[in-house]
């Protein structure tokens, strides 16, 4: 009787449950095995996708290399300025990375530690919290730092091309690797603190924190850019004084920037000293964060899992009303599907918060524009600035539609049977998705562009042109995302980020960027023609025709993508 058989088995196996060692090595091996299996599967099942991804990364690297090379060559032409500017460029780059990586690590760590997938499983196994937190921390570092590597590698080669020191590569790489754990550790600690102290609105808390931080950075940046003095030299001096905090000796960006600068000039002992400081801090912060989080992990996990936010009901009530009437112009079945998508959008903080942050920052920039004191009427700025605003809005729209509209069809995958049995042609589901995304994007984008036109006191005709083009771009981008989303779906996947970064998502991103580039080229040509060829504030018939053609291209592209997508969607077997 008793659990004699269990104990016998354990003894036979030389296992004593009370004298277990670390499972970290086993967990690392499992990670390695899953990566190998994933890679083998990608090579076997989707070689085209793999090649496309490699080509895309190669293209991005070549583009970034060209950009950084131009910058460094330009700076090296004026050695005196370069001495001041290069460390400053690095300081800004690494402080921006410090903020971005801290934020992305916090989000990834929260999901990894307190999400519903692997953590609960590992918590039921005899895994010590220290091992669990360590493996998740390492995972977060890898997942969140790829962007730094993506940006860093071309930057390294561009810099190395201006340096004759071969050891520079080694130092540069070492600084990058030493820097990554610093924001990683802060992010891990933030994720734990949010779960421990603000568990009810965890996602909102992280988002709010990020929004406040970003707003503060933008406001500070805009204030620093204000031309209090007209003389450039005085302005530059004042700007550098205001930004002096970035070069504080206590900030890690300064250690990395100074170390890289020393390595660039062959001062390796000094560079090594900075590398030592960075490494020591990285190790200490990592050790501290992992120890604190693992020591108090079970309580934080319990708080994160036990809290049922009362805010959810409020959010449900608040979003229930508008979702019902905002699509009044649609026939009933389509209205119901679009309203369902709008409710989902409002109830998912990851979706509405990113749209709010993107357009919030844009609005902040637009409302601060007059303080830049540019003489709009004296030069071509009066049309150029609104055109650049149109470019910014279009690119933000492309980002949003690729990230959130494209996955809409794939997300229906597990509920496709429901769509299949609805009493209407299945292709109309796409129309509902299109109507939903079009409504949200037009409301936000047209609002932002109207504000821009108002702040710049833009001429009525040009305002109307920009608003119509914005709507056409919304049409094209939403059509692309819905159409390509239906043509190349990932029905088995429920993770929005993975759907957006898959083959279909990548194709959609490329197509969307190409569409935006095409339309903006047309509008840009019309703007240039008005400004420099006709020297008139009002557009000529030719300029109008160019803008109309650009808008029509966008609408036609959207229609074509919807048609292709709907043909495929009708064929899908439920």
């Amino acid at each position: 009787m008793g659990d004699a058989s269990t104990m016998d088995l354990m003894r036979d196996a030389g296992f004593s449950p009370d004298t277990r060692g670390s499972n970290l090595e086993l967990l690392l091996r499992v990670r390695g095995r899953t990566v190998l299996n994933r890679a083998a599967q990608a090579v076997r099942d989707a070689p085209l996708r793999l090649t496309a991804a490699a080509l895309l990364i190669g293209l991005i690297w070549v583009g970034l290399y060209g950009l950084f090379r131009l910058l460094f060559v330009h700076l090296s032409r004026t050695p005196l300025e370069a001495t001041v500017a290069i460390p400053l460029v690095f300081n800004f780059f690494f402080i921006a990375m410090l903020a971005l990586l801290t934020f992305s690590n916090a989000i990834i760590a929260y999901g990894a530690l307190f999400g519903k997938s692997e953590s609960p499983y590992l918590l039921t196994l005899p895994v010590a919290p220290l091992d669990l937190v360590t493996i998740k921390y390492l995972e977060c570092l890898v997942l969140s730092s790829w962007s730094l590597i993506l940006l860093g590698v071309p930057m390294m080669f561009a810099m190395a091309a201006t340096s004759e020191e071969e050891l520079f590569y080694l130092f540069f790489l070492a600084f990058f690797l030493a820097f990554i754990p610093i924001p990683g550790a802060i992010g891990l600690f933030l994720a734990w603190a949010v779960a421990r102290f603000f568990p009810r609105r965890a996602t909102k808390a992280v988002t709010l924190l990020a929004a406040v931080g970003l707003t503060a950075v933008i406001v500070t940046g805009l204030r620093s850019l204000q031309l209090g003095e007209t003389a450039t030299e005085v302005w530059l001096r004042s700007f550098l004084t205001r930004m002096g905090f970035v070069q504080s000796a206590l900030l890690p960006n300064n250690w990395v920037a100074a170390g890289i600068d020393h390595a660039l000039h062959g001062h390796f002992p000094q560079s090594f000293r900075y590398l030592g400081v960075t490494l020591a801090n990285a190790f200490f912060l990592s050790w501290l964060a992992v120890r604190i989080v693992s020591g108090r992990f079970d309580r934080a996990y319990d708080r994160a899992s036990s809290s049922r936010g009362g805010g959810r009901r409020l959010a449900a009530e608040a979003s229930g009303g508008p979702a019902g009437w905002v699509f009044f112009y649609l026939p009933l079945p389509l209205r119901l599907i679009a309203a369902k998508d709008l409710r989902t959008f409002f109830r998912d903080p990851a979706q509405w918060s990113q749209l709010t942050i993107l357009f919030g920052l844009l609005i902040l920039y637009l409302t601060n524009m007059p303080t830049l004191r540019l003489e709009f009427s004296a030069s071509g700025w009066f049309l150029l600035i609104p055109f650049l605003n149109l470019c910014a809005v279009s690119l933000i729209l492309a980002t949003f539609t690729c990230r959130f509209v494209f996955p809409l069809i794939s997300l229906e995958g597990q509920k496709l049977w429901l769509m299949g049995v609805l009493p209407m042609p299945r292709g109309r589901v796409l129309l509902a998705k299109f109507a939903f995304s079009m409504t949200v994007t037009v409301l936000v984008a047209v609002g932002a562009m109207s504000l821009a036109a108002f702040m710049l006191n833009l001429d009525v005709v040009w305002t109307a042109i920009h608003l119509v083009v914005t709507m056409a771009i919304c049409f094209g981008l939403c059509g692309f995302s819905v159409g390509i989303g239906a043509r190349l779906p990932m029905f088995g996947q429920s993770n929005v980020a993975r759907i957006a970064s898959g083959l279909g998502g990548t194709m959609n991103l490329l197509a969307s960027v190409a569409l935006v580039a095409l339309v903006l080229t047309g509008v840009g040509m019309a703007t240039w023609q008005s400004l420099y060829l006709e020297a008139d504030t009002l557009p000529s018939v030719r300029s109008l025709m160019l803008c109309a053609a650009s808008g029509l291209v966008s609408v036609a592209g959207g229609c074509a993508a919807l048609w292709i997508g709907s043909k495929q969607f009708n064929r899908v077997e439920v």
Binding site: L9, A13, Q41, S117, P120
Partner: protein, 250 residues
């Protein structure tokens, strides 16, 4: 340290758990003995899963203590978990591992030698009929296939306490029969099973004792005969269950 055979397998002492203002489990005290198959029943939202999550250490009770084989799940979690296996209703499985790789991982986690693992696995593969797909990536498995592999993983280290939420969902009738036999053999060998289910027939045929939880309160516990007496019903467990939970509603 060895476990005392006299110690109950699971002890819940005055356990209470709330989610915000919602009280999910109130003053729950229960002992499950070694070698016992305990069926835990209750309507949806009664507190079954919350109780199970506290037993396996996923949630901490607001008040009270939980012990597994004499080890407090909070204070000495790893020692308690080394004696546990948990199969949730929606089990987790690494989708980029094959079933075999997943089972090897679990075996290594519980420090089972390769010889022991292979011997045990051979039996489980045959009994649960998982050999055909065990070397495929688990992402291609149906719910039933996943459930079988997770059950094999849970039984692989012959746990002292097996906690299982809805064990038969998605399984074909032949596998259901195999699982029933495996459970019976496990308890005969001294293992304990704590099983939550809505399938009353399984509880009726397999369980040594049955507990019924309603609105976070353990309203009845005992053998089937004792529950029938308590409910003053002579018919099936279904009648008893409906009678007792109806009384709870009143």
């Amino acid at each position: 340290m060895t476990d005392s055979v006299a110690e109950p397998a699971i002890v819940l002492a005055g356990v209470r758990k709330s989610y915000g203002r919602t009280l999910a489990v109130r003053e729950l005290s229960l002992e499950v003995q070694r070698g016992e198959l305990f069926a835990f029943l209750g309507p949806n939202g009664a507190g079954k899963t919350t109780t199970i999550k506290m037993i396996v250490g996923l949630l901490r009770p607001d008040e009270g203590d939980v012990h597994v084989c004499g080890h407090a799940i909070g204070a000495n979690g790893v020692a308690a978990k080394a004696r546990l296996a948990y199969v949730p209703d929606q089990p987790f499985i690494y989708d980029k591992l094959t079933g075999r790789e997943f089972l090897y991982f679990v075996a290594e986690m519980f420090a089972i030698s390769a010889k022991q693992r292979d011997r045990k696995l051979e039996t489980l593969i045959r009994r649960l009929d998982i050999g055909e797909f065990l070397d495929h990536l688990t992402e291609s498995y149906s719910h039933g296939m996943k459930q079988k592999v997770v059950l094999a993983a849970a039984l692989l280290h012959d746990p002292a306490v097996l906690v299982i939420d809805e064990p038969m969902v998605g399984l074909d009738p032949r596998t259901v029969r195999s699982v029933k036999n495996l459970f019976t053999e496990h308890t005969r060998g001294g293992g304990t099973i704590f099983m939550s289910t809505h399938t009353l027939e399984i509880a009726e045929t397999l369980a040594d004792r049955i507990g019924i939880i309603h609105r976070g309160e353990l309203i009845a516990v005992g053998t089937l005969a004792q529950l029938k007496t308590q409910a003053r019903r002579e018919h099936s467990l279904e009648d008893v269950f409906l009678q007792l939970t109806e009384v709870g509603d009143g």
